[in-house]
């Protein structure tokens, strides 16, 4: 198992070439995305808890429900992102006359999320350290809620966490290039475009958000 993971990280071309010899299986990719979803859910619960202090005392009984919804939504979002990424890559690869089924694309994209589990494992303690000491005063004015939220999200800790996530996303993208090349029978260049364009746009949007929020 460890050898397979190392192969995926260090020699993804060989890893996916070997997978192409086998029948499509979504079990392991699903587990990968699910574990990533668990980390995302934990991060969502961590970041939601301090904001719940802004809720008026009368609505305090809804706190556990809100936290459960946040965690569930984060988990679900990871699964949805898996499918969305696969669809985007599949559609773009059609431009380059890619061949191969969607299930194989979905499988390889799922493997590609593995580096992001490491990224989540790195950013989760940062989020925990930040939000654990965070004291958010009760705010009744909706305008103040937005102001406080913006101030909290502009914290350097969270901005570094975003950058770290972007780095691990780039690592995933590197794996996805090899995965798309094998699953859709694309040239290296076309696979890089298929993956690089949407991921690049996403990365740019994240960096733009950082600059816009005043970070760095």
């Amino acid at each position: 198992m460890a050898a397979a993971v190392l192969d995926l990280f260090l020699n993804p071309g060989r890893f996916f070439a070997q997978k192409m010899q086998k029948k499509e299986s979504l079990t392991i990719p699903f587990l990968v995305v699910f574990v990533l979803g668990i980390f995302s859910a934990a991060a969502a619960v961590l970041s939601t808890a301090p904001f719940l202090a802004m809720i008026p005392a009368e609505a305090a009984s809804f706190t556990p429900i809100v936290m459960a919804i946040a965690g569930g939504a984060a988990l679900l979002a990871s699964l949805v992102m898996w499918v969305v990424c696969a669809v985007i890559f599949f559609v773009i690869s059609m431009v380059f006359s890619g061949t191969g089924g969607f299930k194989r694309v979905l499988e390889f994209v799922g493997y590609g999320f593995l580096p992001q589990i490491i990224g989540a494992a790195v950013t989760l303690p940062i989020s925990y350290l930040y939000f654990a000491d965070l004291t958010i005063p009760p705010v009744s004015d909706p305008a103040q809620i937005e102001e406080v939220t913006q101030q909290l999200l502009a914290a350097p800790e969270l901005q570094f966490a975003v950058v770290i996530s972007v780095l691990f996303l780039i690592w995933s993208a590197n794996i996805w290039i090899f995965g798309m090349k094998e699953s859709r029978n694309l040239s290296t260049r076309n696979a890089a475009i298929t993956v690089g364009v949407p991921v690049g746009l996403y990365v740019l949007s994240q960096l733009y958000g950082l600059l816009f929020s005043g970070g760095f």
Binding site: R14, V122, I136, P137, L152, E157, F160, A161, N174
Partner: protein, 385 residues
């Protein structure tokens, strides 16, 4: 015949009796000096007994005819070269009957230095030497004694203090209608005045006033009293100088720690009463340009005894400022409100240093991750080649 003689004798006697009586009376009236000698001064009074220079007094002289015959009086008068006597003479007195008394009243004014004066009372008779007597009038201008027996060591603006006066009567006679009225600019006195009434010689009475000065000035006590029917006013002035109360409560803030999170600063510290009096209702908050924020916009410490201390925590928001004022409000035992302001520097807080260091550690993680990922990516492409 005998009857006729007896009746005649009786008639003669009856006719002769009035003539004999008239002859005896006429014989006595002819010695007016003897009759006047029976008239004496039986009482002489002066009210008030002891006068203050400028006072008016009532001098009353009573004469009694101790003889058996009335004595005609032509004039009664009082005279003195020093004293002023507006109406000094009774010009139509008439006779004073045997065994009767007659009272003569004069008003005198004593615009003279202290001492004892002896105005002369004279009673002139029609046919006899005058009767003369001297009436002592004592002038002694010692006034009431007013002294402060209790006052604070120092006055504070808006701080109520008690001033106690003692009014004593060092005079030989009693003084009546004594009242004390305080007047002062910039000084509020709770009592509009205090009435003492009558003080016998060597007696004293205490009166208290609760004063609240707003600024430095003088507090004057108008002491009004009556000596007889003469009204006098005595002013006693007390300087009121606003200064720091040496024994007052003195809250001191120490051990200040400030942290910041989400734009809200949390300021914690200790407050100690370094004064000698208790500080009541101690409240701590922040002033402009800081804006107090939840959850501790205001921190109520409560009562702080001398040398006692308490911890506190306040929250506030502040943008682009180097320091914020920490406001400490408290009251003394009389309910007077005080406020102290302590500037707290935002830059010197350990929290901000910690905030600066923490991202550096994360940045190190970021750099390591970036290098690692870049290495892996490069390595994976080399393997592919």
């Amino acid at each position: 015949m005998n009857y006729a003689v007896c009746v005649l004798i009786c008639l003669l006697c009856m006719a002769a009796a009035p003539a004999v009586a008239l002859q005896i009376t006429t014989t006595d009236a002819l010695d007016p000096a003897s009759a006047a000698a029976q008239v004496t001064v039986t009482e002489k009074t002066i009210d008030p007994q002891v006068l203050i220079r400028g006072d008016r007094a009532t001098v009353t002289v009573t004469v009694t005819n101790n003889g058996d015959v009335s004595v005609p009086i032509t004039r009664a008068f009082l005279s003195d070269a020093s004293l002023s006597i507006p109406v000094d003479s009774y010009d139509s007195v008439g006779s004073i009957g045997a065994g009767n008394s007659m009272t003569f009243t004069f008003t005198v004014r004593v615009d003279v230095p202290d001492g004892v004066y002896y105005p002369r009372f004279s009673l002139n008779y029609r046919s006899a030497p005058s009767l003369r007597d001297y009436i002592p009038v004592k002038v002694e201008s010692t006034e009431l004694d007013v002294s402060v027996v209790k006052r604070p060591d120092s006055f504070s603006a808006g701080n109520r203090e008690t001033i106690e006066l003692r009014v004593g009567n060092p005079r030989e006679n009693s003084i009546s209608g004594i009242s004390v009225v305080p007047v002062g600019e910039g000084v509020e006195v709770e009592q509009s005045g205090s009435f003492i009434g009558k003080l016998e010689p060597d007696e004293s009475a205490n009166v208290s006033f609760d004063v609240t000065p707003q600024e430095s000035g003088t507090l004057t006590f108008h002491v009004t009293y009556r000596n007889g029917f003469n009204t006098h006013v005595l002013d006693h002035t007390l300087p009121v100088v606003i200064s720091e109360d040496k024994k007052a409560a003195r809250p001191v803030v120490s051990n200040i720690v400030m942290t910041s999170s989400g734009g809200v600063y949390t300021l914690t510290g200790d407050i100690t009463n370094a004064g000698l009096k208790v500080a009541n209702s101690v409240i701590i908050t922040t002033g402009a340009p800081a804006a107090p924020a939840e959850p501790n916009r205001i921190y109520v410490v409560g009562s702080l005894d001398p040398d006692d201390f308490s911890s506190f925590e306040v929250n506030f928001r502040a943008d682009n400022v180097d320091s914020v004022p920490l406001l400490i409000q408290y009251r003394d035992e009389d309910g007077n409100s005080y406020e102290r302001e302590t500037p707290v520097s935002i830059n010197r807080t350990a929290a901000s240093e910690e905030e600066r260091e923490f991202p550096v550690a994360i940045a190190a993680v970021l750099i390591v991750a970036a290098v690692l990922i870049a290495g892996i990516i490069v390595y994976s492409w080399k393997k592919k080649a």
